[in-house]
């Protein structure tokens, strides 16, 4: 199948430290990829680079065959490249319904409208309540974000991303900071993602990775050291070394 999302030789360094060092990968519609790697491996930086939040030193990003390396962050979203954030970025005084409605309106080019209210737009409200319902947020839909639990905020991050109707979805640790008891709902949401959507998920929880991914990419010190099936990843000596190294370093620092 042809690639919907393609990254070629992406490089970026901060003050001489190569945080993304010649990263290349391609994804097809329907892919479920997990991007793993020790803390500080450059996973979030990779997402920032491909979504246009950071500018690469060199390399190329393509979506649906189109070179978007010089397209700004907004333009990339409009072309279907959508991300979520490792630490939720939501509007504390707005409700989940407002978040999702804003995303839907923006997708339709209607977020700049000066008059009218989403509550009075039946087709928007239908989609809002459908998405919110799918993510199990119906009871919270008109509460302010600051009043709802963190696990529900993480679900809302996913809802906002889906409301933008992405072709490629990059999820940066969607379950981070959520108590173990609440991860089930998020895992269900991940399992229910549209089948033709290409998803790349960054995740530390290996159980979640194994249940979700059909392909695993391991990033260490800015370089891809493994790209293959979940069953092979734990056997790979370089992966073991990278993780051991990181634990050794962590032990050193502590």
């Amino acid at each position: 199948m042809s690639a919907i999302f393609e990254v070629r030789n992406l490089k970026r360094s901060f003050g001489g430290l190569a945080v993304t060092n010649d990263v290349s990968l391609a994804m097809a519609p329907g892919d479920r990829v997990a991007l793993i790697g020790p803390n500080g491996a450059g996973k979030t930086t990779f997402v920032n680079l491909v979504t246009g939040n950071l500018t690469p030193d060199s390399g190329e990003v393509r979506i649906g065959g189109e070179d978007i390396t010089r397209v700004n962050a907004m333009g990339r979203v409009r072309r279907g490249l959508v991300r979520s954030f490792q630490v939720t970025r939501l509007f504390q005084d707005m409700t989940p319904a407002e978040h999702v409605a804003l995303a839907i309106l923006q997708r339709g080019g209607r977020a700049g409208r000066l008059f009218g209210n989403y509550l009075a737009m039946p087709e928007v409200m239908a989609e809002v309540s459908d998405l919110i319902g799918k993510l199990g947020l119906r009871d919270q839909m008109h509460r302010r974000v600051r009043e709802i639990a963190y696990g529900q905020q993480r679900l809302l991050e996913i809802a906002v991303a889906l409301a933008l109707r992405p072709r490629v979805l990059l999820l940066d640790e969607p379950a981070a900071g959520v108590p173990q008891s609440d991860t089930g709902r998020i895992e269900q949401a991940l399992a229910d993602l549209p089948p033709d959507l290409a998803v790349l998920m960054i995740e530390h929880d290996m159980d979640l990775v194994f249940r979700f991914a059909r392909r695993v990419i391991v990033l260490a010190a800015g370089t891809i050291i493994f790209d293959g099936s979940p069953s092979d990843v734990t056997k790979d000596p370089r992966v073991r070394e990278a993780y051991l190294g990181s634990y050794a370093n962590a032990g050193h620092a502590a």
């Binding site: 409009r78 409208r113 000066l114 209210n117 509550l119 119906r138």
Partner: protein, 335 residues
């Protein structure tokens, strides 16, 4: 329809009705205050009209500062440009119909808003504030130097608006101007209530809190803010035009740093991010400035200063914001 959807429809209908109720309440408050002012100070309608014009400036400032988080100490640039546009149209181009003058003021404000927005929005925080101060001084100096058009430091005199709608002459007591001003304020207020809760209004609130999030949703904070600056310019320009029409002169003080700073003080006093707050702040500040100062010319500034310090320290949401928060908590407790 599932049970849940039925419930939702009910909730949103109730929410809509509550908002509509508040809109009507807001309108009645404006009109009620207008009538009270008219009855209490029949010989001081000029002051009340000026209050109305300044209220438009403070509302306009609230749009960019309260709703979008832009820091500016130069907002009178939009108001003054509107005033001069209306005045110059009348004096130099013979456009003396008050509604056309108003349109010129609005247009002038929009252009000034576009200009100021394009400059101010390039920076954030302290540099943004400095840019805004530089801008208001430039506008002021420009108006001062272009004396053949603006009358320079003598002010632009000789503005003689025609009767409103061909019927209501601008009388010596300022009755026509007052009614014109109140109707203008009521119309602007109603339109702004709609705008701040439109999709565009939501977008602005989002940008104020987290522009990166908005960009990740595919919307451009820059484009949105410039648009808001133009709307803000239209509102401030309308206020400037009202001032030009009612006083029949335009002075350099309408394009001053002092007026910019005072309008920010009024906004903070009343409460940012709420249209009612902007109105409250204007009324309280100008009441002190003109009425208390007449009774006690030496201490009114002291009193305003003390009030401002008290508000900033103990009621950071402003007078209206604090009262609204207390009322909301009370309503919550009763339920």
């Amino acid at each position: 329809m599932t049970m849940a959807t039925v419930n939702e429809t009910l909730t949103t209908a109730r929410g809509n009705r509550r908002k509509l109720g508040r809109d009507l309440a807001g309108l009645s408050v404006i009109l009620g205050l207008a009538v009270t002012g008219y009855l209490l100070f029949p010989n001081n309608l000029a002051l009340l009209t000026r209050m109305t014009a300044i209220a438009l400036l403070v509302l306009s400032l609230d749009l960019v500062t309260g709703y979008c988080g832009v820091a500016t100490l130069g907002h009178a640039a939009l108001f003054g440009t509107g005033a001069y546009a209306a005045g110059i149209a009348a004096v130099h181009f013979g456009i003396t119909d008050p509604l056309l003058m108003l349109a010129c003021g609005i247009l002038g404000g929009v252009v000034a808003g576009l200009l100021c927005g394009a400059v101010i929005l390039r920076a954030h925080g302290l540099p943004q504030l400095v840019l805004s101060i530089a801008l208001i001084h430039l506008f002021h100096e420009f108006a001062n130097k272009a004396a053949s058009w603006t009358g320079g430091s003598d002010g632009l005199a000789g503005i003689a608006p025609d009767p409103l709608l061909g019927f209501f002459a601008f009388d010596l007591w300022g009755r026509t101007a007052y009614v014109f001003g109140i109707v203008l304020l009521a119309v602007v207020f109603t339109l702004l209530r709609l705008v701040v809760r439109s999709p565009f209004g939501m977008l602005c609130r989002g940008i104020k809190e987290d522009p990166i999030r908005i960009r990740a949703m595919g919307a451009s904070p820059k484009v949105t803010l410039v648009k808001m600056y133009m709307i803000s310019g239209a509102v401030a320009g309308a206020g400037g035009a009202l001032n030009a029409i009612s006083t029949q002169v335009v002075g350099l003080d309408s394009l001053s740093f002092t007026l910019s700073a005072e309008s920010l003080v009024m906004l903070v006093l009343g409460g940012t991010g709420s249209l009612f707050g902007a109105l409250t702040g204007t009324i309280v500040f100008m009441f002190f400035e003109d009425i208390v100062s007449a009774a006690n010319p030496f201490h009114w500034l002291t009193m305003v200063g003390a009030l401002l310090i008290a508000v900033v320290l103990f009621a950071p949401k402003g007078l209206y914001g604090t009262i609204a928060a207390v009322a909301a908590r009370w309503r919550e407790a009763r339920r």
